[in-house]
C-alpha cells in the first residue's frame, strides 16, 4: 500500500485540517469531535442541512458545504459512519432556528448513528427530519438486503435540497423535495480495480486484468457479480440500462445525467462513458437536460465509475440551476 498519508489513524484529521485551511472562506473545521460547518455559522431562519458518513468518498460531503448546499458535514473514519457525538454538534451548528434536515446514505451504520444524533438534537429542542438516500439499483430493496445503498445520487439530493433551503422553504418542504429527488434518482457502479483502506493495508478485493466487478458500492466492497472485462460502451450499457429500467424513464422525460468517477479513473474515460450513456438515454427518448461529469462520490483510489440518472421536473431543474458555492461544486 502506497499512499500520501502519514499515519492511517490520523489521515482523516489531517485531511480535514488541510481542507479547512484551503477553504477557510467557505468552511470552519471543528475538531474533537470532528465536523465541518459553513464559515460564518448557521444562516438564521434557514433550514439547516447536515450530511455525513465514512471518509474516503471525497469531495462528498465536506466538499459540498457552502451556500446553496450543506450547512455542515460530518466525516467519519475511513468508510465508517460518524458517531452521534459528532453528528449532534454538527446539527446544532447547522441550526438557524428553522430545524435541520439530515441527509443520510442508506447504510445500517449511518442510519443508526444519525438516528441517535437526531434524538440528542431533539433533546436540545432542535427539530430534525431525515431523508435516507437509496439510489443504488445494484442492490435489490427487498427482505433479503439491508435495502438499497445511497451512492452518487446523494449529490443531487444535497444540491437540490440545499437550494430549496436556501430559497426559504420550511423543514417539511425541504424534506419533501429531498424525498422527491431520492424517488427520482437511480445509480449503478462498476469497479475496474479495488481500493485500499489505509487501516486495512490490502486491497478490498482482488481482480485480475481480465475481470471487473459490476454493481459495486462506494466502500470498496465487491459488487453483485464479477464479469469479464468489456469495452466502455458495453460497460456503460450494463450500468445505464438497469438505471433506466428501474427509473422507468424515457419518453419525453428530461433528465440529469451524472457520470461519477470512483477516484482513480482518468477524466477522459468518464467522458467516454458519458458519451455512450447519453446515447442510450436519448435512444430511449429521454432528453439530457443537465449533466455532471467528474469525481463527486468516490471510493478512495478505486478505478471505475457510476452512472446516475435523475428525472427532472421544472422545479427540480430550477433548484439544480440555483447558485451553489462550495469547494467541489460551484456555479
Amino acid at each position: 500500500m502506497k499512499k500520501l498519508i502519514n499515519d492511517p489513524s490520523r489521515v482523516v484529521d489531517e485531511s480535514v485540517e488541510g481542507f479547512g485551511l484551503a477553504h477557510a472562506d467557505l468552511v470552519a473545521v471543528h475538531t474533537d469531535p470532528i465536523f465541518v460547518s459553513r464559515a460564518g455559522g448557521a444562516v438564521q431562519g434557514k433550514v439547516g442541512l447536515v450530511s455525513g458518513g465514512g471518509s474516503g468518498h471525497e469531495p462528498l460531503h465536506a466538499g459540498f458545504v457552502g451556500l446553496g448546499m450543506l450547512d455542515a458535514a460530518v466525516p467519519g473514519a475511513m468508510f465508517t459512519s460518524p458517531t452521534p457525538d459528532a453528528i449532534a454538534p454538527a446539527t446544532m451548528a447547522a441550526n438557524g432556528g428553522a430545524g435541520v434536515l439530515h441527509i443520510v446514505k442508506n447504510y445500517t451504520g449511518d442510519v443508526l448513528n444519525f438516528e441517535t444524533a437526531a434524538e440528542l438534537a431533539d433533546a436540545e429542542g432542535i427539530e430534525v427530519r431525515s431523508v435516507i438516500v437509496n439510489d443504488d439499483v445494484a442492490v435489490e430493496d427487498s427482505l433479503y438486503t439491508a435495502g438499497r445503498r445511497g451512492v452518487a445520487g446523494t449529490v443531487a439530493v444535497e444540491k437540490i435540497a440545499g437550494a430549496a433551503a436556501e430559497r426559504g422553504d420550511d423543514l417539511a418542504s425541504v424534506a419533501a423535495i429531498a424525498e422527491r429527488v431520492n424517488a427520482n434518482v437511480r445509480s449503478m457502479g462498476v469497479a475496474l480495480s479495488a481500493c485500499t483502506v489505509p487501516h486495512a493495508g490490502t486491497p478490498s478485493f482482488q481482480l485480475t486484468d481480465a475481470e471487473i466487478e459490476i454493481g459495486i458500492g462506494i466502500h470498496g466492497e465487491p459488487g453483485r457479480r464479477r464479469i469479464p472485462m468489456a469495452s466502455a460502451d458495453e460497460i456503460t450499457e450494463m450500468l445505464t440500462n438497469p438505471v433506466m429500467d428501474d427509473l422507468g424513464a424515457g419518453g419525453s422525460d428530461q433528465v440529469l445525467l451524472l457520470v461519477n468517477g470512483m477516484g482513480g479513473t482518468p477524466l477522459s474515460e468518464l467522458y467516454v462513458v458519458y458519451r455512450k450513456a447519453r446515447q442510450l438515454l436519448e435512444g430511449r427518448g429521454a432528453t439530457v437536460a443537465r449533466s455532471l461529469v467528474g469525481n463527486y462520490v468516490t471510493s478512495l483510489e478505486m478505478q471505475g465509475c457510476s452512472v446516475t440518472v435523475l428525472r427532472l421536473d421544472d422545479e427540480l431543474t430550477a433548484l439544480w440551476d440555483a447558485p451553489v458555492h462550495t469547494a467541489a461544486l460551484r456555479w
Binding site: 489513524s9 469531535p33 465514512g54 467519519g76 473514519a77 475511513m78 468508510f79 465508517t80 459512519s81 460518524p82 458517531t83 452521534p84 457525538d85 447504510y107 445500517t108 451504520g109 443508526l112 448513528n113 438516528e115 441517535t116 445494484a138 442492490v139 427482505l143 433479503y144 438486503t145 439491508a146 445503498r149 483502506v197 487501516h199 486495512a200 490490502t202 478490498s204 478485493f205 458500492g217 466502500h219 470498496g220 466492497e221 465487491p222 453483485r224 457479480r225
Partner: protein
C-alpha cells in the same frame, strides 16, 4: 465466586485485549464481505474504553457503572453499524446490572438485555448473518444453564461456547442484514465479523469469571 464490579472491569479489560489481538483478523473478515473496518472500529472503541477506565477519578461502584461507561464510549468512538449496536447492547445490559453481584439469573438477564438492545436497533432475526447469530445461541444456552441451576460462571461458560458455535455457524449463511447483504449469494462462505467479535466479548466474560473464581 463473585461476579462483582471487579469482575466487570476485568471482563472489559480482557475484551479490549482480545479485540486488539484480533484486530487484523476482524478487519480481514470484514474485508471479505464488508468494508474492512470492523477490527479497526472495535480497536478504536475499546482503546477509548480503557483510557476512560484508567482515567476515571473514582472507582465504579457496580457492574452497571462499568457497562454504562463502555456503552457511551463505544457509541461515541466506534461508528459504523457496530458502534450503535454494541453501544445499545451495553446500555441495556447496564440497566439490569445495577447490583453489587451478579448470580446466574443476573448474568442471564444481562445477556438477554444485550441481545434485546441489538435487536431493537438493528431489527435482525437469527439467520441473517449478523452478531445476532452469536448472541441468540448464547442467550439460549444461558437460559438452559440457569434452568439447570448452573452458577454464574457456568452460565457464562455455556453462553461463550454457544456464541462461538453461533459465529462459526454464520459461515454458510447468506447475509440479509448489514453491509454483507449487498453481496447476496456471494456472502456465503465467510464468517460474519460482528458474530465473531461478539463471541470474543462473551468468551472474555467467561474467562474473567473463571479467573475471579480461581482468585476467590
Amino acid at each position: 465466586m463473585t461476579l462483582d464490579v471487579a469482575w466487570t472491569v476485568d471482563w472489559v479489560r480482557r475484551t479490549a485485549q482480545v479485540v486488539l489481538e484480533n484486530r487484523d483478523y476482524l478487519v480481514e473478515l470484514d474485508r471479505q464481505i464488508g468494508d474492512g473496518d470492523h477490527g479497526e472500529n472495535l480497536k478504536r472503541g475499546f482503546t477509548a474504553v480503557i483510557a476512560k477506565l484508567d482515567g476515571a477519578t473514582e472507582p465504579p461502584g457496580q457492574p452497571a457503572d462499568v457497562l454504562k461507561t463502555v456503552a457511551t464510549t463505544l457509541m461515541s468512538t466506534v461508528g459504523g453499524a457496530a458502534g450503535p449496536l454494541y453501544g445499545t447492547a451495553y446500555l441495556r445490559a447496564a440497566k439490569v446490572t445495577a447490583v453489587d453481584v451478579l448470580d446466574g439469573p443476573g448474568v442471564l438477564a444481562m445477556l438477554e438485555a444485550g441481545l434485546e438492545g441489538i435487536v431493537a436497533r438493528g431489527k435482525a432475526q437469527p439467520g441473517e448473518k449478523t452478531m445476532v447469530d452469536a448472541w441468540t445461541p448464547a442467550v439460549n444456552a444461558a437460559q438452559q444453564a440457569v434452568a439447570d441451576g448452573a452458577s454464574a460462571e457456568q452460565v457464562l461458560a455455556a453462553a461463550a461456547t454457544a456464541a462461538e458455535e453461533g459465529a462459526v455457524a454464520t459461515d454458510p449463511l447468506v447475509a440479509t442484514k448489514g453491509r454483507a447483504s449487498y453481496l447476496g449469494e456471494r456472502s456465503a462462505g465467510h464468517r460474519d465479523p460482528g458474530a465473531a467479535s461478539s463471541a470474543m466479548v462473551i468468551r472474555a466474560a467467561a474467562d474473567a469469571a473463571a479467573a475471579a473464581d480461581g482468585a476467590a
